[in-house]
Amino acid sequence: MERRAFVRLLAGAPLARTFQISAPAGTPAVRVVSNYKAAAMPGIPGPYPGRVVSVKSDKCVDVATGKANDEIVREMMASGMRALTGAGTTRDAWRRFFDPSDIVGIKVNCGGYPYCVSAYEIVAEVVRRLLDTGIPESQIYVYERFQNQLDEVNYAPHLPAGVRIVAAERANRNVDNSGYDPAVYLEADLFGEEDTRSNMMRLVSQRLTKIINIPNMKDHGATGATGCLKNIAYGSFSNVGRTHQRGKSYTLSLVGQLAAVEPLRSRTVLQILDGLRGVWHGGPFARTTRYVFYPRQIMFGTDPVAIDRLLLDIIDNERRAHGAISIWDRSPASLKMDDTRARDADPNVNIIIREPGHVEYASSLGLGVYDRSKIKVQDLSV
């Protein structure tokens, strides 16, 4: 479906609004506007707070070529979903989350093209399992914010023709706003920017009933790591690049605050962290293989905080193995503000003071369990 046609389809939905005020000490004041109420059990943290299933396989990716093994990935997916839910069959496991009436969005991550994006094999298997629960192809949406990124990654050849692949904007140029809901937004004046609103995608607020989040295991220059929280939050709202610039990042609070906005929080029911491949520096981008590594695992859960808590260690450990500064490093000596060339050339350079504390902050909003001692990890091997 053409992006413009899709936007027209959603335009004109009824507007109503409620206001929430949130201004925790030490973080920017924000105003959240949404007319959506939380579900009785919001998808985040969902039925399995503090629970993570990690499925590993040495055979899932050929580290020499970067190519994934589709058969192994399917097996990893089935094992992970059964273990998470305790269901006897894979179909029953998926039916714990979805029924045929659902309109499901699959939030992928295309920012790490070409070396680290939500894997075709994982996305295709998710679609197969949704179809198996009786959801029609036309009720399945693969989405990202930017159409040019989706075009680069090109999921279409890997998916049934009826599955919709949609974006809110053509590219990151700040000229297409029609794909965003004017009635659902977070407002904050961070750096004195004129456009102080970040609006939720209309697809999320007006169309989808459930969302599956499929981020990657990546380093991130502003947040330390980008996993479940960052992908679903910054990948579902407009105008979020304004939160980190000139060496300063307000992502500490804003990642969690965006993820908590209804109906995004309630509808995001499943987290699948794609760790077939990863990026330990220079993220969220992966234009070269220099900083790509291969965790060769997939994590499953409903608690994005718990999964991201594990991710922080994975990224930091990989950086340590390469002799790079920690994602927790806040030293001014490591900072070369806005110098992306220096950052790309040297893993001991930050362009912004990173905020890996965003994961713990999100836990304070009730989005999940951060305390490592309280997170139950079930390790499986395929």
């Binding site: 335009a11 700040n174 000229v175 706003n177 920017e193 004129e194 456009d195």
Partner: protein, 291 residues
Amino acid sequence: MMSLLVAMLMWSCVWPQGVASRAKISFTTDSLTSAELASREALPSPGITARAGLASPTRSPWIVANGWRVTRRPGTKYVYSLGAGKAGLAAAEAFAYGADALLKIAPEDVGVLRTIMAFFDGLPASDLPNVADFAVVDDGSAVTGEVMNLLARRNLLFEVVKAPSDRFRINIVVGSREFPAREAADPSAFALKVRRQLTDEQRTLRVYGSEVVIARFTGDAGRARLHLINYGGREIEGLRIRLRGAYRGREAHVAGVGQVPLQDLVVAGGTTEFSLPRLTTYAVVDLEAVR
């Protein structure tokens, strides 16, 4: 033959546009004469440009805009000397601010200019005063001019006055204790200070969804007209506008497009919000106050 062609391309129009002045736009593809240059103040070509360290090239590019100059000196005659592709934007700017302007344009822009001038012709007549949230006392200095430039760039609506006016809560006098001249040396920070004093809640106008649109807002107790000028060179979809006050309106007049219905209009809490589905170079939105 050439002089005949040039004569054919000379064009001049006058529109009732604002109280303090009347827009009068003429254009030529010929070189400007020394008499024309001497009798008019030259304006820079409007648009966006990259200025290292001052603005992000993607989100907040540096805007060259002249509306503040016309607001400051409405009776002055202006001249633009424009490269190809700039005629429509310059004409929109001159029209929106009611300028008396001569445009030296590239021959290939004649069609564009005639089209947008025909668009101006088709707009409902309007003769409404400027709406302003605060005053700037004009001492005639370049520094104060640059402050006006940055205020306009941020859609902070001001009125130019000769002396502080008790009609406004905020009167900006550059060089005063409240607004020291040293602060005006950084006009961007200065504009932000004014914005924070005014507060976003109290601003008559907010524009969401772009950093390259400058608005002029005119109105009285019953009616209002909003001019939107897009300096970015790319069409914008879904621009969101917030106005203090309760208004009703149905459509925008969008240059090159025609009448476009306003979307998602909400009147609540003493404010009016709506979205403009498309904004080319220029659009006008006429509104009626709701009592």
